[in-house]
Amino acid sequence: MIDQARIRSDFPILDWEIDGRPMAFLDSACSSQKPAQVIDAMMDALRDSYANVHRGAYTLSQEATEAYEGARRKVARFLNAAAPEEVVFTRSTTAAINLFAYGWGLGNLKPGDRVLISVMEHHSNIVPWHIIARHTGAELSFLDITGDYRIDLEKPEDYFDERVKIVSLSGMSNVLGTMPPIGEIARLAREVGAVMLVDGAQMVPHSPVDVQEMGTDFLAFSGHKMLGPTGIGVLWGRRELLEKMEPMEGGDEMIREVRLFESTWAPVPQKFEAGTPPFVEAIGLGVAVDYLSEIGMDQILEHDRKLTSYALRRLEEVPGLSIQGPANTIDRGGVVSFDIPGIHAHDIATILDQHGVAVRAGHHCAQPLMRRLGLAAATRASFHVYTSEADIDALVDALGVARRLLASTEAVTVR
């Protein structure tokens, strides 16, 4: 059990009242709030000990470098990576997936090769592959979902063959909450000789991760969804693969030697970190990781599960409402998407907002999935460690208002 009162006191924004009601922030899957510890650490880094990293021979710069590399070690420990050098700091999940797509895909993929993703991917794990496919002539293929919103692995041979060179899959869908069996998929990928990336944007903030056990070769995630700052993300990769991978960006820090007409690369991870890195943000992420670890990722997973279970139960009370995502909490994270026929998601979001309930409405950066589900838009409530059952109660109450205001018992008539 987590000590939620104590946790909530680290997030002053949660005490805010909107029109006299306390805010129910239910959009953590989009971006989480940040505890005071993270904000304070960044502020200290900017105010009291600021200097660039990896550059100066003076004390301040040395200390900044130590703090930056310390954050790398923290993230490595958080993931149980074999070494800190396996942690590459990027701007975000999106930047990490693009780095992998360019660094691994641009040089290795040939016409006829396949990149296997799924229909439930976030745009950030689809569009980079469109770009790389256009550059290389490789093709995309898609794992489908089942009727109960799981990845369809009934006939793996339909998807996995030696044409597949890269498998890139979300560890947790940001719409459905589905957490696919990564270990099994990694095994299938390995059998056909494909390299695998997990888009951990939703998974890493919400469940324990052990990259040495998971089976994947690469893992991408963002700081801002896991109580950390914006502007920072991570690409973890197995060292021997990172060493083979090409850099995407050129610039300082990532070089060993620069001559007029050619340059050689620094060892990993610097090879992938061109220019001044977002090191204040990395320091903030390090503190977020400390914060999460102190609570315990297993506790957070359990907390999410309880809330999801409560939300599924309470939402059932709303007439007409249907859930997009597994109906139970097995291999399912804390995002709950739903649809009320006759009331558009955008109207729901506006009405909820007026009642201090922040949710997201739209296609959730997953247009192919929405098309697959036959929906133009859905509403999504998502949680993190500070979310309480009271937040979900506020959601259900406000949905009642939305129904009274907008749901018409008469069918829509055409004049």
């Binding site: 558009h344 296609h363 205001l405 907008l406 008469e410």
Partner: protein, 152 residues
């Protein structure tokens, strides 16, 4: 903070529940598709233009109450109007929906002969900036249809 009543006025809900002009035209000589990728709203506007006058209009698609009501009202407002009048109406509407438009005294719905009629009920949307695009969508699509018609 703005109140929901300002946004969801009765006349808007009425147009939303019972949209006017919601049909695909059998005979049309202009048209365009519009969409708001952020929220997934989609709208199709078909026009029949005869002797410089919009003699028929069909507005189809799907979306939130605001975009649907706006499309429904737009159909009523532009039908049987000459193209230059439609153009003025569009400008007037877009002006009303822009944040700066707030000061336009000609938009008082109580004012006799308010040119926008029912449409003025959409003024409340201005207080909900994310929703302005919803109200604008049918009009932007109408403009595109007229643009194509005129250049083609």
């Amino acid at each position: 903070m703005a109140s929901l009543e300002e946004l969801y006025r009765e006349v808007i809900l009425d147009h939303y529940r019972s949209p006017r002009n919601r049909r695909v035209l059998e005979r049309s000589n202009a048209g365009a598709d519009g969409s708001n990728p952020l929220c997934g709203d989609e709208v199709r506007v078909d026009l029949l233009i005869e002797a410089g006058v919009i003699t028929d209009i069909g507005v189809t698609g799907h979306g939130c109450s605001i975009s649907q009501a706006s499309g429904s009202m737009m159909g009523d407002a532009v039908k049987a109007k000459a193209l230059d009048e439609v153009c003025r109406l569009t400008d007037r509407f877009k002006g009303m929906m822009s944040i700066e438009g707030a000061a336009d005294p000609g938009l008082d719905p109580e004012r006799p002969g308010a040119v926008l009629g029912d449409l003025e009920a959409l003024q409340g949307v201005r207080k909900f900036p994310v929703r302005i695009k919803c109200a604008d969508l049918p009009w932007t699509t109408l403009e595109e249809a007229l643009g194509i018609y005129e250049s083609g």
